[in-house]
Amino acid sequence: MSTHLAKLPRLLAAALLLFFLLAAIAPNLLAPVDPLAIDPAAAFSAPGPGHLLGTDESGRDIYSRIIHGARSSLLIGAAATAIGLGLALVLGTLAGFGGRWLDFGVGRILEVLFALPGLLLALVFIALAGPGVTTTVIAVGLTWAPGYARMIRAQIIALRSSAMVEAATVLGRRRSRILLVHILPNALAPLAVLATLGLGQAILWAASLSFLGLGSPPPAPEWGTMLSAGRTYLSLAWWMTFFPGLAIVLVAAAATVLSRSMKAGGSR
């Protein structure tokens, strides 16, 4: 994937993510209209000059809701990924260094987590902790942790027996120091790729959960929630569903493209 053709999508992806990042940081810059301002009279107005991407059932401006929704959606994605990676880091490191038995134990735990479909895990957890953004975030993070953990473990185990570590040992370095200075940092490097990837996926998942009515509470504009709200009016106001959906797809796709190119860059 290193032909000149692959450059364009890479740039596009980066630009897209930057745009949404900007939206998350300073939404008012991109969308001055109040995303919460209702106007029953103007409900369901189609995309046009007045409302770039139309309005929803309460006459709220969809464009500005998407822009203002970027923050919570990206935050959800980021937080979930962070939780997933954090958990994975602990498990992976334990498995990677804890010696055979710990490795075995963690391996089993990961297996069990894998054997449960992600959504079931999420649903049970949400039922356990009650719905809400926080739980959704944790639930999504939880479902993605095992994958990451497995990756980290593999990384660490590969590094443990690397010439680099051997060289450090020959130079008389302590095990603990080798772990901190050489193994962990190098094991974490590929996580950047995963994180980017996870972001998109986490957002996707959070959306699915809010489709099942487990999302963030109204009126906070959140893409998943907007999407499931718009679904009801699909035949009447397609734009209510289409544009938030588009935002999600774009971010997820952009994240993938970026992480793939990062990976390619790393391997080169």
């Binding site: 994937m1 297996e111 054997a115 959504l119 649903l123 039922a127 356990l128 994958g147 995963l194 489709f211």
Partner: protein, 331 residues
């Protein structure tokens, strides 16, 4: 995402992964032991996990807290379902029943979980199975076609995959319904007993999956295309198509096979959404209602089933990999 899928599918963690030369019997044994362990662990985790959910199970039995069930009724229910006994007693009792293949009685449906599963399994399996097949076909065809047609094709192909892998199920479903049922009127929006009724649900499930698999397959295929053995094949006079079909395709398939365990999970998760949108009977839909209804036996049943399915699929994909690739299991 292909990377993610790879992580998901890396065989390292699978029950009883084979290392060294090991006889088929040993392999099988390790698989079985691993599987049993996983099932036990899942059962235990779910059992205690669900007990932590706020709310009295007896309420769930009486049809949720909304029902103004009398104290007697609640007591009766507790007694009937053995909820009056201490937790560890319940645990071992259920474990023992599980060993005998009895999953208890569903709180919400009032009928044995085994029966419920037996009734709801086929539709889900049909849906998931067909979706998996279609996804495979889509992924392969797309991967081959795009790889075949050079850099542009690859770019287009992977773009298509990335997009389709990024589409939320429920969104796709709604759009498909609007397009093919409401606007064009070609296909029924609800799944009926007719094959036509299966088309939309299958596409909804298959498309994102195909996106994932396609990426993995293409990656391994592209690798093969660049490899030295591909070059020597060309040097033997093999045509590009020949290289693709005789060499790269196998390597691509290998990448796909490794994914099937993960695919199963995503299919079941997808089924939850798809089944409720297309009003199909099935496991996914009952899972959702079971969790919201705090129907502990049913949730446990579904969880155990999907865990078992996962273990099975992993075993099979491991087997398949060994058949395609002798390197695994030796090395």
């Amino acid at each position: 995402m292909s990377d993610f899928a790879k992580i998901q599918s890396s065989p390292s963690g699978v029950a009883g992964t084979s290392h060294g030369t090991r006889s088929a019997a040993r392999w099988l044994l390790s698989k079985i032991m691993g599987g049993i362990f996983v099932l036990w662990a899942v059962f235990t985790a779910i059992f205690f996990g669900l007990r932590m959910i706020p709310g009295d199970p007896a309420q769930a039995i009486m049809g949720g807290p909304g029902s103004q069930a009398s104290a007697e009724a609640l007591a009766a229910a507790r007694e009937q379902y053995g909820l009056d006994q201490p937790l560890y007693v319940q645990y071992f009792a259920q474990l023992w029943r599980l060993v005998q293949g009895d999953l208890g009685t569903s709180y919400s449906l009032k009928s044995p979980v085994v029966e419920v599963l037996a009734e709801l399994l086929p539709p889900t399996l049909i849906l998931a199975g067909l979706a998996l097949l279609v996804a495979w076909a889509m992924a392969l065809v797309l991967a081959v076609l795009s790889t075949r047609s050079g850099a542009v094709g690859v770019a287009l192909g992977s773009g298509l995959e990335i997009i389709s892998a990024a589409v939320p199920h429920f969104w796709l479903a709604s759009v498909l319904i609007m397009l093919f049922s409401t606007m064009l009127g070609w296909l029924p929006p609800v799944s009926t007993n007719t094959p036509a009724g299966l088309v939309l649900p299958i596409i909804t499930l298959a498309l994102p999956l195909a996106g994932f698999m396609g990426q993995v397959m293409r990656d391994s295929m592209a690798e093969a295309q660049r490899s030295a053995f591909a070059l020597s094949a060309r040097a033997r006079g093999e045509s590009e198509t020949g290289v693709l079909l005789r060499h790269s395709l196998r390597h691509g398939a290998l990448g796909g096979i490794a994914l099937s365990g993960w695919a199963l999970g995503s299919l079941l998760s997808g089924a939850v959404v798809v089944e409720s949108i297309f009003a199909r009977p099935g496991l996914g839909r009952s899972l959702l209602s079971a969790v919201t209804a705090r129907d502990i036996p049913l949730v446990t049943g579904v969880a155990l089933f999907s865990a078992a399915a996962y273990v099975l699929i992993m075993a099979f994909s491991d087997l398949a990999e060994r058949l395609v690739d002798p390197r695994i299991g030796r090395s």
